[in-house]
């Protein structure tokens, strides 16, 4: 009993310090009143922060846009990661190590450096436009950067490994004789995939989707550096409220709203897991 407590203590300590305490602070700020000072709030029990969220559709739009962009990113990541993970898991063990290393390789360069590379590729005088014009395919540069497409491409690139890894683990665990049993019982490869492989790996696919969706929903850097200026995602709005408007109660309320919205799919996923 004592040993168990000792083992669990670091985990509980971590949760208390880095999850529970910040959440409590955030809640306190969300209920505080805005005040021009340092810090820019006065502790209170006021609903002004939350009220502001509902008064203006601006905040709701920012939340919904962020969820839509995150869902698109997660769906695209899933679409790319699923065959990738299947291919890596089915490769010979030595090749598998190389393929996994290639997958993780971009992570060894800085995140901002990778975004910078994308900007270099996509901007008006960038590599892609340069090549298109040199080949005589276009006369004027195409607008590639600062579009929703650029933003989503950047996010898919950044989050792809989060989707590949859980799927890779699932394909590694998948008993290859399941597919053979399906074939043996008369299923052609496409049918065997749809009736056996896909449903058996579905929980891992859901996990992969969530592992991308959740961080992508709060993403700030990529929309800021690559996205269209008019796109107001919740991450950007949070930044503005905290650092430009210095309206901490509204910002904290918005952050809490995002947190609650993200708990819904997590909870759904857990119930799905428990059922299978």
């Amino acid at each position: 009993m004592r040993g168990r407590l000792l083992l669990l203590a670091p985990a509980w300590g971590w949760l208390l310090l880095f999850v529970a305490a910040p959440a409590a602070i955030l809640a306190a700020i969300a209920l505080a009143e805005s005040d021009p000072g340092v810090p820019p709030f006065r502790l209170a029990l006021s609903a002004t922060g939350f009220a502001t969220l509902t008064e203006d559709t601006y905040y709701l739009d920012a939340l919904l846009t962020a969820l839509r962009v995150a869902a698109t990113t997660a769906a695209l990541c899933l679409l790319i990661a699923y065959p990738m993970a299947m291919g890596i898991a089915r490769a010979a063990p030595r090749r598998r190590v190389i393929l996994l290393a290639l997958l993780m390789l971009p992570f060894w360069t800085g995140f901002l450096l990778r975004v910078g590379a994308w900007i270099g590729l996509l901007r008006d005088e960038g590599w892609i436009n340069g090549m298109l014009q040199a080949a005589g395919l276009t006369d004027a540069p195409l607008t590639l950067l600062y579009t929703e497409g650029a933003m989503i491409a950047g996010m898919v690139h950044a989050y792809l490994p989060f989707a590949v890894l859980p799927l890779f683990a699932a394909f590694l665990r998948l008993d290859p004789s399941l597919g053979e049993a399906a074939a043996d019982l008369g299923a052609r490869p496409a049918i065997a995939f749809l009736t056996v492989t896909l449903p058996v790996t579905a929980p891992a696919a859901a996990a992969a989707f969530l592992l991308v969706f959740i961080p992508a929903a709060g993403e700030y850097v990529i929309p800021e550096l690559m996205g269209p200026p008019e796109a107001q995602l919740v991450g950007r709005v949070l930044w503005q409220e905290f650092f430009q408007n210095r309206d901490w109660p509204v910002a904290a309320a918005l952050a809490l709203a995002l947190l609650v919205l993200l708990l819904v799919p997590i909870r759904l996923f857990q119930r799905l897991e428990a059922r299978t």
Binding site: S177, A181, D184, L185, G186, P199, V200
Partner: protein, 347 residues
Amino acid sequence: MKPLLRAEALTKRFGGTLALDALDLEIAEGEFFALLGGSGSGKSTLLRIIAGFETPDSGRLLLDGHDIAATPPWARPVNMMFQSYALFPHMNVADNVAYGLRRAGVARADVTGRVASALAMVGLSGFERRKPHQLSGGQRQRVALARSLVMRPRLLLLDEPLGALDAGLRERTGFELRALQRETGAAFVMVTHDQEEALALADRVALLDGGRIAQVGAPRAIYERPASRFVARFLGAANVLEGRAMEGRFDSAEAGATFAGDIPAHTAAIALRPERIRVAVAAEGANTARGVVEDVAFRGDDSLVLVRLTGGATLRVAHAEEDGAPPMRGADVYLAWDAEAVVALPA
């Protein structure tokens, strides 16, 4: 005997290893056939080629006279029970058993009836709604069996069917497998590494070694008349003694004994089963030997006695309980056996 399946010069290589070496085999309609061998003998490769999961590099595989070597597994009238059972974890028992029927487009009403009778056959009625993870190992094995048998295959392949069961369940399940085989009339082809299992269950056994068939025949025939040293050693650990044949006798220096009996001129070695050797008071001449007891192990209805012979070889002797107390360790003993017990090995 009408052959259902015929393999002609089947050859399969994996990289540099020869898994099957021009293997010929015939399996009759409705027989229980065992492919016996150690790891790397090619028995699993042969099973996977019959199922269609591997294609032979050369040779023919005839089912009812038609070459099926290039037919994909989903188009073969052959079903397999996998060693891991390979039950679909996201489906319940009934859906697992119905899977093949649904692929074959069997009418919905018929599916229900056939699933029910297949589950009744393996004694699992009432388990329809269970998921595989809610079943014991033995129950899973039965679901896998029902899932194959519901397809009414003329040829059922079983990959180590008793391998994952604990000892108590193996014997009973073995008898049940034989009963199911008689009931369905299908030919069963079982892969196993366990010689007792093969001898107990099968009508005929093929012992594989290095991608070739070392011997094929009825269990009793190959047990009593092994064709080579390998077969003699693999089937129940007979004593194999080296020496030279001359004039109807076989002189073994390592035994320090002469064997007499039915010994052809080309005999390469002699096999002598442990249970055919008895401890004698005194012995002289052919079919006797002298040695020192190295160790004695009690096994229930007999004791296994290890005797180091004067020639240096160690002989395994099964000493039956009804013959009295076994000799003590360190004792000098005389051994004797009958001429019929001497099996001449041509290779």
